[in-house]
Amino acid sequence: MKPRYSVFSLARNAMNYHKDWERAWRSPNPKPEYDAVIVGAGGHGLATAYYLAKNHQMTNIAVVEKGWLGGGNTGRNTTIIRSNYLQDASIAIYELARSLYENLSQELNFNVMFSPRGVVMLCQTEHEFRAFKRTAHANRLAGLDCRMITPAEVKEIVPIINDDSNCRYPILGAYYQPRGGTGRHDAVAWGYARGADGLGVDIIQNCEVIGIQRDGNRVTGLETTRGTIRTRKIGVVTAGHVSTIMDMAGQRMPIESQCLQALVSEPIKPVIDCVVMANTVHGYISQSDKGELVIGGGTDSYNNYSQRGSFPALEHTITALVETFPIISRLRMLRMWGGIVDMTGDRSPIIGKTDIDGLYVNCGWGTGGFKSIPGSGFVFADTIANDRPHPIAEPFGLNRFAEGRLIDESVAAAVAH
């Protein structure tokens, strides 16, 4: 177990000029064999490892990561957390995740800065309005705390919004989740890493998986850039890189990897105190605790592993947001970047077993899986430990594509952030 972080430990260490802090996680060499290996130290992989150790007492396990932990999409997303999806299966997993976020800082003893400042999803067309009304009914009956709000309420929550009723896309109202919000993306990865490490999990960075070993239809180990690791359970959680790894095992995937971009403005004093999503015009915005506006939009339309997107995608978003929040016209873009997102055929994730024994997969979170990290790790750990899908994971199995049992959230006119 790790020494606890607190204001007292801070004060104590300050006396000593912070020379005695312990490492947040070790830097172990891979052992020859583990009971299970998680591939990919993003939020989902680290959370899986944490819950495997914590809930299922599987501590002889490792997470292998080709780069630095948390450096994938977990380290480059716009951190929106909400659970007001339309389909029952989605509500179940995103709300599990959101409720775990509520206590995550305390659970991990690491401040992940979960900030339920509210998510406002604008209705800018009649169609969108209707779709959100439907979602609102569904969410209310599912027990979520969400509601439709009027344009006047939107203006009160987001004073900088363009409330001109003659503009191109006037605000007709919004769908509001008061306990949605944001979290500190890096801290989620670091908190789970520190938590898992404290429970004995080996987190092995700079260790890329380059092959999957099989004996018939069962996995027996991994080849990595740091040697071979034997194991009979492999959980692949590598987001945009999942196809290339599954190809190594001969498991074909319904995934395409595309670049999703985001950007931040220069920091300014607070102007927006919640998350606003404008799905019709493809833009969403929030303001971080440091003061930058954090902005995201849609993906480029072609496959891309370069982590660099095209300018027009972001331009489209900025144009929309300048119209929706006119004051940003005179603010400036500080930095833009891209992440490789894993898009499935129905834009919903895949969690569960594969055609190969001992090979499990958790991917397809695409543009919206930061919010689900705790819930996904929780149910995926259970799935791996018991070799059968957790009930909340079950609808998200790979078999749904052959059955036509799609979980299509786009029907609610929502983008999946």
Binding site: R23, A24, M113, R308, V411
Partner: protein, 1002 residues
């Protein structure tokens, strides 16, 4: 603040002493000269502090020369024209300019939050991850609001930006980034070789550092050479020169963004209507990166005090603006170049001495300094800085003996001074090189990264390439210009003379008086207050990857994006870990090079140009008639036409009853129309639609359903057979373009052997529905040249002819359940015909009706709307249209998917009608029925309302819904729990009006 005037009596190549300019800084009225920057003009008054740092709110002065400035950030302009976070070193002075300092309260010189500095020991990097966790709700309600208020830099403007922005796309053979001597030489060569060249520089004047670099080119002072070359480029017909223009990013396939500040420096231009900023989207066949180099600070204790500047900035203050950084200064360096600063200041009459970390300083410049009588201390560093004026200035420093690699101070002495000009060497500005994946390598002689390989057609020259010797630089630039143009220029490379410089020595960290890190701060990232100790702490805590260190400490994440801090940070990390700098690695360079406005990114596409609104030919009539308009895709359609003192509901009811009892007129021009012709047209349509069109007779219409390959409904509409091999397809308004593209895609990619042409003609036609029992009478009055009787033109038929002088196509089709004709006429005639119909209909009680009445009318008839009754997961079976799905055809789009297990499953949601128990209760849109009503959620949902209206025809509410296994539950009563009540409704057939369709066939 000192009252000393710092404006020198002479010098200042950029200022015009004859033209005084007044401006305000923090409300104080100040005067500068034309040509000044805000930084120069403020410094000339003796004011040192221009800003406060992000975290500790330490007072900060000007450090840099231009865009690399990280401390002196100001907000400029008022109200809706305010712009925060500008670098004072880049803001050009104009009359009436208002600048304010940022991130301080109540004032710049006295900032309450500076208390953070006192407690800084409690705030090492990442401290917030370790605390603020108890009590739990305090994060949202206490800690976070506090942090948010304290953070941020400048303030956002208020109100809508009154200025305009625009963009332009330009292709060129060669884009030269930077107009220093290297850029100019490259551009000259490329231009002479005949290439189409763009050369851009972020500064108002070309020349880069030439004016503060000394030496000659082709026998003339650098500045004269620069003037001549710039002049020639500006006059050439194959060159476009752009000043005040930053190349902000480099993307795939040599696509670059150039951010031009057209009018920021001159309000008169804005007033005349010039765009404020212009974004140039340049596609360059070849890019020459001549972006120069950025001087780096040295990490010594309290190196952030106001009065500590970069040596190049101190030199430029004197040379360009005639402003002395102080009265008595110390140049602290590890290289020869900074001696130029010592010489310049010395010549300007400012007291100066040099502290050089190297054991020997024997290049031409140090020797010249010695000869000029300047005191030089070699093997020395600055080990302490003592402040004066309550921390707002420097009083004295300690100079300590030093040997490379030495970790602590052994002997030191005090030296009085009021400023420090530091130089830790120069870093090539290779940001753009790296934006699109260029590789870099570490150069031991420069102790800096320099460009290495690049997959794109791009070359770096001059200081940007790590070439600092002037003649080499010019030769390299000249050659690159010719190579980029692909032709010889017929000219020779310029030849230069400049004092030779000796090698610098790495100096990443200067030891300090007293124990390291115990009270001293060696700043690496000034703006974000990241110190060397913070970087080391991150390493100790396991944040080993440089990317972890960056994120944990926020080093390199400020508004300067690490321009001056990056390499220094790597140097410190290398020394702390025993690794080399290349082993530590660099963090990722990302666009933009310097921040640029969102206004420029939106360009012209704001307000009514944001996204197009599509109008039909009759649009103005609807507006004049007071219609409430509704967006349908990009179209604007009339929703309803309220009369004075009538609300929307009353208007809609009136319109519906008018159609049911008399006759109504609808502008249906937005419906998609596609002509499809060819020998295989019928077979092709059989593939596209679920039902069969090859059996349709010429002159007749048929309603068709279209699925996507997943088996879900995507469109519907009526198709007419114009001739044996010729069809006209109608699509939904929203589907017009999508379906046309869809048809083309299948034709071209899957069935290229089909001989079919597809031509979308939506916009050629205005199309109006005349619907209601008296529709035929209205049409008859319009003098058709064809027969109108039910026999001659029965339901679902088509006729081409004339109404009076108007050529028309008439389709007898109905979406309202009433006798109805859709009349199409060429769009330029649309408004004319519409007016004629309105006129002719007057005596029959004809009124226009909008889209909402249309929707109610069709719902009364149980007709689906794709997008209302369907949601992208709905099959034709789900909505009860089994009859329209051919069982005979071997294949049509979506057919096979309909057999996937889940699409065949028996408990799918099916379309039903609903009648509420209380006829006045209208179920809300999207309300869900539950299996069993419970006291509180969750409740199991079994389906949802898809359309719901108060039907004036029936005098009660009606609804359609998709309900699990609904068709088998006819007569069952369902519960819809709403907020505060449960509405109960009976399942019925979804056709509420004229079930037999008698009204259609009259």
């Amino acid at each position: 603040m000192s009252n000393k005037p710092y404006r020198l009596a002479h010098g200042g190549s950029r200022i015009d002493r004859a033209r005084k300019v007044s401006f305000t800084f923090d409300g104080k009225h100040l005067t500068g000269f034309a040509g000044d920057t805000v930084a120069a003009a403020v410094m000339a008054t003796g004011q040192r502090v221009l800003g406060r740092s992000f975290k500790y709110h330490r007072p900060r002065g000007v450090v840099g020369l231009g865009s690399e400035e990280m401390n002196a950030l100001v907000g400029v302009g008022d109200g809706a024209r305010h712009e925060p976070n500008l670098r004072a070193t880049q803001v050009e002075l104009y009359d009436g300019l208002t600048a304010v300092s940022q991130n301080r309260w109540p004032s710049l010189d006295f900032d309450v939050s500076a208390i953070n500095n006192k407690f800084s020991r409690l705030f090492p990097s990442g401290f917030y991850y370790k605390t603020f966790m108890w009590p739990k709700r305090f994060w949202k309600h206490v800690y976070e609001p506090f942090i948010r208020r304290a953070a941020g830099l400048g303030k956002a403007p208020v109100g809508r930006d009154p200025d305009t922005y625009e963009q332009i796309h330009v292709h060129c053979d060669v884009l030269v980034v930077g107009a220093g001597v290297a850029g100019l030489a490259a551009a000259e060569a490329a231009t002479a070789a005949g290439a189409r060249v763009i050369i851009a520089d972020e500064n108002p004047l070309f020349g880069g550092l030439a004016d503060i670099a000394g030496g000659t080119i082709d026998g003339r002072p650098q500045t004269e050479w620069v003037k001549e070359k710039t002049q020639a480029l500006a006059e050439a017909e194959n060159v476009h020169v752009l000043s005040r223009t930053t190349v902000v990013g480099h993307w795939h396939h040599n696509h670059l963004m150039l951010f031009e500040r057209v009018a920021d420096h001159d309000p008169a231009l804005l007033a005349a209507g010039t765009p404020r900023h212009r974004l140039w989207k340049v596609r360059a066949a070849y890019v020459i990166l001549a972006s120069g180099a950025i001087e780096r600070p040295i990490a010594f204790a309290n190196n952030d005090r106001p009065g500590v500047m970069l040596a190049s900035a101190a030199r430029a203050m004197v040379e360009r603006y005639g402003v002395a950084p102080g009265a008595q200064g110390v140049v602290f360096t590890n290289n020869d170049d900074a001696y130029l600063t010592a010489l310049t200041l010395h010549m300007a009459g400012v007291g100066i001495r040099v502290v050089d970390s190297r054991a020997r300083a024997e290049g031409e410049l140090p020797n010249a300094a010695r000869a000029a009588g300047i005191d030089i201390a070699t093997s020395s560093i600055i080990s302490a800085v003592h402040t004066s004026l309550g921390g707002l200035g420097i009083g004295d420093v300690k100079v300590a003996a030093y040997r490379r690699g030495q970790g602590r101070v052994i002997s030191e002495r005090k030296v009085e001074c009021d400023f420090i000009a530091m130089s830790g060497g120069w870093n090539p500005a290779l940001h753009l090189w790296c934006h699109n994946g260029g590789k870099i390598r570490f150069d031991d002689a420069l102790q800096a990264f320099r460009p290495d390989r690049h997959a794109d057609a791009i070359a770096a020259v001059g200081a940007a390439n790590g070439t600092f010797e002037l003649s080499n630089m010019l030769a390299e630039a000249h050659a690159a210009g010719e190579k980029a143009a692909g032709k010889p220029s017929g000219r020779v490379a310029p030849i230069a003379e400049q004092p030779k410089q000796k090698r610098l020595e790495a100096l990443w960290f200067a030891p300090a008086t007293g124990k390291y890190n115990e009270g001293n701060k060696h700043f690496i990232d000034f703006q974000n207050d990241v110190t060397a100790a913070d970087l080391e702490l991150a390493q100790r805590e396991g944040y080993e990857s440089v990317e972890h260190t960056k994120r944990y400490t926020t080093f390199g994440m400020a508004t300067d994006q690490g321009k001056t801090s990056n390499i220094n940070g790597l140097g410190v990390l290398a020394e702390a870990t025993g690794k080399t700098i290349p082993e530590i690695g660099v963090t990722t360079f990302r666009p933009p090079y310097t921040p640029f406005s969102f206004g420029a990114i939106a360009g012209t596409l704001t307000k009514k140009l944001f996204l197009p609104i599509r109008r039909t030919a009759v649009y103005q009539w609807h507006v004049d008639r007071g219609a409430v308009v509704e967006p349908v895709g990009q179209w604007r359609r009339a929703y309803t036409y309220p009369r004075t003192a009538e609300d929307k509901h009353a208007a809609i009811n009136r319109e519906i009853l008018c159609v049911r009892n008399k006759v109504g007129l609808l502008d249906a021009s937005t419906l998609g129309k596609i002509e499809i012709k060819g020998p295989d047209a019928a077979e092709f349509l059989d593939r596209m639609y679920t039902n069969t069109f090859s059996t349709l007779k010429v002159g007749r219409c048929r309603y068709g359903l279209m699925l996507n390959e997943l088996g879900f409904l995507t469109d519907d509409g009526v198709t007419v057979r114009l001739a044996d091999d010729h069809f006209l397809m109608h699509t939904t308004s929203g589907g017009a373009d999508r379906i046309a593209a869809w048809l083309e895609e299948w034709l071209q990619t899957e069935w290229p052997h089909y001989r079919v042409f597809v031509t979308p003609v939506t916009e050629q036609w205005s199309q109006f529905a005349i619907a209601g029992p008296r529709a035929r009478e209205v049409l008859a009055k319009l003098a058709p040249d064809f027969e109108l009787s039910n026999e001659a033109l029965p339901h679902m038929t088509f006729r081409e002819g004339r109404l009076g002088p108007y050529p028309v196509r008439v389709y007898r089709i109905s979406f309202s359940g009433e006798l109805s004709y859709e009349v199409a006429t060429p769009a330029n005639l649309g408004r004319g015909l519409w007016d004629e119909i309105v006129e002719a209909g007057r005596e029959f009680g004809l009124e226009p009706y909008g889209t909402e009445a249309l929707h109610v009318l069709r719902a009364e008839k149980g007709y689906i709307v794709v997008g209302d009754e369907t949601d992208g997961t709905t099959t034709p079976y789900d909505v009860g249209l089994d009859g329209l799905v051919s069982k005979k055809k071997a294949d049509f789009l979506g057919k096979r998917s309909l057999q996937q297990p889940h699409l065949k499953s028996t408990d799918r949601k099916q379309l039903v009608g609903l009648l509420t128990e209380d006829p006045n209760e209208v179920l809300p849109d999207g309300a869900y029925a539950v299996k069993e009503v419970k006291d509180k959620p969750p409740m199991e949902m079994i389906g949802q309302v898809t359309s719901t209206y108060m039907s004036p025809t029936l005098g009660r509410s009606i609804a359609m819904a998709l309900i699990q296994n609904g068709r088998a539950r006819m007569g069952e009563t369902l519960s819809f729990p709403l907020e505060g009540k449960v509405v109960r409704a009976k399942i019925v057939e979804p056709v509420f009006y004229d079930k037999e369709g008698a009204k259609l066939n009259v």
